[in-house]
Symmetry: C2
Subunit: 339 residues, 2 copies
């Protein structure tokens, strides 16, 4: 196989031009209209056939299918990427299967503290909430922070007071009780371990207007300290979207994802390094791995290309491509992202 | 003036090589040992000669000089960049002049909620705290989160409980009362405005072992909602350090700095885009400006080059270069970063 090498001439003037265009093209960059695309994840971790029952596997696949179709339906009817991201994530937040919303893990204190964020790739708007204890769908509150407050990131009681002012329904803490997560906490307390809940959820969508959006929602780590903030609500770590490059949602050992600024690194590798999306995603996950962390990402670029990368045994994931059919995968050796 | 253009040949193999080296060189990258360097800021905003009295100007210049010398002394005696960053920031936190520690602004509720973060460029370790109400030096608590917890980011009461477990001194809320900041809140309440406290503090240092560190500390915005988190404690927005590229501390309209992932963008423009530090800093501030935000950054690369950029009337700043003499600047038309 032969190819013609691409020759670039880099001059100071060219660097200046690149710097100026980098600054100038950041705002309100619509991509060419086209077919909608959507990709979701339900967390990365030790997802092995040997640990799965047929019934549990069916429940995961069914819920992922319902979630991605909820988002895709929005896109097909001309809806925005933001609406699609919110719709898909709400389905996963309402399921006890994932570590987000209803199925959130417990903190060391036996409470649930939920985090979520969303970003709009057209205007680089963002919203995030952390330490949420009484809101059924943190992703919708993150979106409200983005669209209806002067702030990007709100924590704890202040965020919940904002929710009440907007008339967003609250739920009692008991809503988040599930026996499975409680048992996981007891086990973690006995082992004095802090571990991933394996089930952060996220979505990236490209709508037919050419706009990208990304969102992430989580319960964090089982047995985490009260007040711990992971990567999910951190713009540039767990979530990022820019029509000029890509949208990303991450899941994994949040501390490592913050230190590696995973989501922004993927976009920057495309934007400044010229890498294609999948290579950028693989590079960012290698960065997490080099630090000692595990997890994965889903990503979509403005041309509708899907990037999936993880360094765990598996990642719950699904996407709908040009043919409009949902592809649902869980294990490492399945389809995209397979190793 | 003539120059020889640099020719780069980009092949798929080269892209793969770059991707692999990007992943592989991220951890524990020591820079060549050399002369220590340090740069600090005390916030960007409407800093005008016409609004300054000779006495107030002297107090700012004196405190900036004491702060930078506190950091430089650490570096000169062979101390770490992390120790220098902490030492310089503690001086500014203890002064009522800056919007951090003692001089923190008030929230809408009349409380003080402080944020801080620190990052170590050698191992990409990071620590951050947000919503702190009883800790005199939030930068030291952020460092304790980095070095002595399993987490990177801790919020509110959970962060303060961690401080108590470590025996870190707490102060009563009244410690943070200053008449000037209280009056600013009353004015903001009357105007129903949320505004910058003009005085977030930060420091970036390069030690003689070749390691970079960066830190930032703030009281946030006057009249902010309780629970609002700005860019200062967000790794990749207000603070970033990587021996492979640079260290950065930012100050300004935090919401815009989060959306523009300012600190990580500067590092990425160097790391993947090949821009020199000052151009990378200017590009990131242009990015903030394009979104509608104002503020500034200080930065240091591994070779000890200083980058300063801001789009406001002024920025309190100081640096010590190879000659060991402190240079202190405040206005837009002074020295580095002058427009």
């Amino acid at each position: 196989m032969s190819f013609r090498p691409l020759r670039l001439i880099v001059t100071p003037a060219a660097i200046l031009f690149v710097a100026l265009s980098m600054a100038g093209t950041l705002v309100a960059q619509p991509a060419p209209a086209g077919k909608p695309m959507i990709v979701i994840h339900g967390g990365a971790g030790t997802i092995l056939r040997s640990r799965m029952t047929p019934d549990l596997e069916r429940r995961y696949r069914d819920t992922l299918t319902i979630a991605i179709n909820a988002g895709y339906t929005v896109l097909q009817s001309g809806g925005s990427a933001l609406d699609a991201v919110e719709a898909a994530i709400r389905v996963m937040e309402d399921s006890p299967l994932f570590n987000a919303g209803k199925g959130a893990v417990f903190t060391h204190d036996g409470t649930n503290e939920l985090d979520a964020s969303v970003m709009d790739g057209l205007h680089l708007r963002a919203g995030a909430v952390t330490g949420i204890r009484h809101i059924r769908n943190p992703i919708s509150l993150a979106r409200a922070v983005m669209e209806r407050s002067k702030h990007v990131m709100l924590a704890g009681a202040g965020a919940e007071r904002f929710a009440k002012e907007l008339g967003i329904d609250t739920v009692p803490e008991s809503y988040f009780f599930t026996q499975r997560r409680w048992d996981e906490l007891q086990k973690a307390l006995r082992a004095d371990s802090v571990s991933g809940g394996h089930g952060t959820v996220g979505c990236v969508a490209l709508d037919m207007h050419g706009n990208l959006a990304a969102g992430t929602s989580t319960g964090g780590l089982t047995n985490k300290r009260a007040g711990r903030i992971g990567d999910s609500p951190v713009i540039g770590a767990g979530t990022y979207a820019d029509n000029g490059s890509c949208g990303v949602s991450a899941t994994g050992d949040g501390e490592y994802f913050i230190r590696a600024t995973v989501a922004r690194t993927i976009a920057a590798l495309m934007e400044y390094g010229g890498l294609p999306l999948q290579k950028a995603a693989d590079s960012a996950i290698a960065r997490v791995g080099a630090l000692g962390g595990t997890g994965g990402v889903i990503a979509l670029d403005r041309h509708g290309r899907v990037g999936i990368s993880f360094n765990t045994e598996g990642m719950y994931r699904a996407y709908i491509g040009e043919d409009g059919k949902a592809v649902v995968e869980m294990y490492r050796d399945e389809g995209r992202g397979s190793k």
